[in-house]
Structures are given as structure tokens and as C-alpha cells.
């Protein structure tokens, strides 16, 4: 009897420990370019993302200094003047993919609602967008786009460059998640 109870408890704990998919090298890009001016865009290829495939919870983390710009000086300005990366080194995201079901994922991709909170420079901003989830072999690919505005995070753009930086910034993510063992 004792053994039976033990086995049942063991089985329960196994099924409770959530199954997760993750990446350490997710790609997060943003574009704030204005036509006819030097493109303002950067890519971060070291984004961490973890998806709980049992309930669709998703968490992301990136370091601002890992954003790579084509122009080195722009990268310096981004970290020093706009993002204050020494003080606020990370951007985090916590959210949920609604109606997520691992078994319903296909190779053609499924569009699902993604809701969450983006934290940047110590400020929270609610994000509501659509994510595309695709099953690629034993990986799950998550892609999505959303836009934010500099004032959402109290980022002040000086008058002299105001016309060269877009009012809305488009963010694009592309994460290839593998099973976390």
C-alpha cells in the first residue's frame, strides 16, 4: 500500500513538473528608421526565451548591450544616451500565448494571441500582439512583431535627431526553441 501511494505521488510530481522549450540565442530586432536617413536598426542574437508548453507561459530576457548596430557610434549612443544600459542592462518580457496547445502545433504554423508585459528601463508596457508558432522538426519556432514608442519607456530623443528616428519602433522576434531537459 505504501509503495502504491509512493508511486502515485511520484507519477503526479512527474506530470506536474512542467515541460519547457527554450533558446539562448533567439533573434530580436528593432527598426526605428526614417527614410532617406541613416537606418536606425539593430539585432540581438543572444535573447533567452522559455516557453512552458503546458500552459503557454513565455518569458524572455535580453541584454541591451548585445544589440549590434551597423554603425559603432550609433551603438554607443544607444547604450549611453538613450537606453542608459549601465543602469538598466536588461529588457525582460513575461507573458502568455493564449489558447496554446502543444499538440495542435503544425508545420504550417498557427497564429495565436500573445499578451504580456515588456520591461525596459524599469518601465512596464503591456504588449498585445499575434505570434506565429510553427513546429520545425523537434523545435518550436516563435515569430512575432509589435511596436512600441520611445515615450513608453521615458526615452528622450533630442530635438536634433528627432526627425531621424521613427516615432514608432518596430520590434521583431524570431526564436527557435528546443526542449529543455
Amino acid at each position: 500500500m505504501k509503495n502504491l501511494i509512493f508511486s502515485v505521488v511520484l507519477l503526479m510530481t512527474i506530470s506536474v513538473s512542467a515541460q519547457k522549450y527554450f533558446t539562448k540565442t533567439g533573434i530580436t530586432e528593432f527598426k526605428a528608421s526614417v527614410e532617406a536617413f541613416e537606418p536606425v536598426e539593430a539585432v540581438n542574437k543572444s535573447t533567452t526565451a522559455i516557453l512552458n508548453v503546458e500552459n503557454g507561459d513565455i518569458a524572455g530576457l535580453l541584454f541591451l548591450k548585445a544589440f549590434h548596430f551597423k554603425v559603432a557610434l550609433m551603438q554607443e549612443h544607444f547604450n549611453e544616451n538613450y537606453m542608459d544600459s549601465d543602469k538598466y542592462p536588461k529588457a525582460t518580457f513575461k507573458g502568455r500565448i493564449l489558447d496554446f496547445s502543444f499538440d495542435e502545433l503544425t508545420e504550417d504554423g498557427k497564429l495565436l494571441k500573445l499578451d504580456g508585459v515588456l520591461n525596459l528601463r524599469g518601465k512596464d508596457k503591456a504588449i498585445s500582439t499575434i505570434a506565429k508558432l510553427t513546429k520545425v522538426g523537434d523545435k518550436i519556432q516563435v515569430t512575432s512583431t509589435f511596436s512600441v514608442e520611445p515615450q513608453d519607456f521615458d526615452i528622450k530623443i533630442p530635438g536634433i535627431v528627432k526627425d531621424k528616428i521613427a516615432k514608432t519602433i518596430n520590434v521583431r522576434l524570431n526564436y527557435e526553441l528546443i526542449e529543455k531537459k
Binding site: 539562448k24 543572444s46 530576457l61 548591450k65 548585445a66 554603425v71
Partner: protein
């Protein structure tokens, strides 16, 4: 040359403007510093570095480090040293000759401490030994 005083002045100003322009362009479009051009802020074993970072993670961001330790995992994207130092390689071809358990020394840029996965994140990694 028999130039009038005025054209001499105009010519010098033109030369200065061009030089200034070239200089401004060089400053604005200077290339990214490679990890070899930057100062190495920590050199030692990966285990010592993990301990050092855990004391105060805020100062260990965007710095160049040299670490040695044994390879505990590798995948298409990079390698892990001492279970909690994840390195993205500059040249992924360097991964092929690596075996798990092998002791290596790397030079890389420490990005920061990833508190979601509880590990250190490095990129631009070069395997030195």
C-alpha cells in the same frame, strides 16, 4: 602660382572643410572594436569567474574575459563551460573539433548574467587553446 589673396583664403578654407569632413566621417563611421582591441578584464578559471560574477553581476557586463574550463555541453549555437557559462562562437566552425570534457581556454565578451537560466552569457567567443 599667382593667386590673389582672396582665392588663397578660399582655397585654404575649402581644404579645411574637406579635411574636417573626412575626419567627421571617420569618427561617425569608425568600425566596431574587436575583442582583441579591448582590455581583458578577467583572466582565470571559469569557476572563479562564476563566483566573482555572483558577488556583483552588475559590473560584469560587456567586458572582455579570458576563461579556462572544461566543455560540459555543445550544440549548433555554441558551447557551455563548467555547466553555467554559455558561449556563442564568432566562428561556428571552431565547434567541430571540440569534444565534451575537453579543457579549453576562450576569449569572449561577457554579455551578462542570465537570471532566467541562471547562467553566464558570452558572445564573440574565440577558442584560444
Amino acid at each position: 602660382m599667382n593667386l590673389s589673396k582672396r582665392s588663397k583664403i578660399a582655397l585654404s578654407i575649402l581644404v579645411l572643410v574637406i579635411l574636417g569632413g573626412v575626419y567627421a566621417y571617420k569618427v561617425a563611421y569608425k568600425p566596431h572594436k574587436t575583442i582583441d582591441e579591448r582590455e581583458v578584464k578577467f583572466s582565470g578559471t571559469a569557476q572563479d569567474f562564476i563566483k566573482t560574477v555572483k558577488q556583483d553581476a552588475t559590473i560584469w557586463q560587456d567586458v572582455v574575459v579570458e576563461l579556462s574550463g572544461s566543455v560540459t555541453a555543445k550544440d549548433e549555437q555554441g558551447l557551455t563551460i563548467e555547466e553555467s557559462v554559455f558561449c556563442q562562437l564568432q566562428d561556428k566552425a571552431q565547434l567541430e573539433n571540440l569534444a565534451q570534457g575537453q579543457t579549453i581556454t576562450i576569449k569572449a565578451r561577457m554579455i551578462g548574467f542570465d537570471d532566467l537560466l541562471e547562467e553566464l552569457k558570452l558572445d564573440q567567443t574565440k577558442i584560444i587553446e
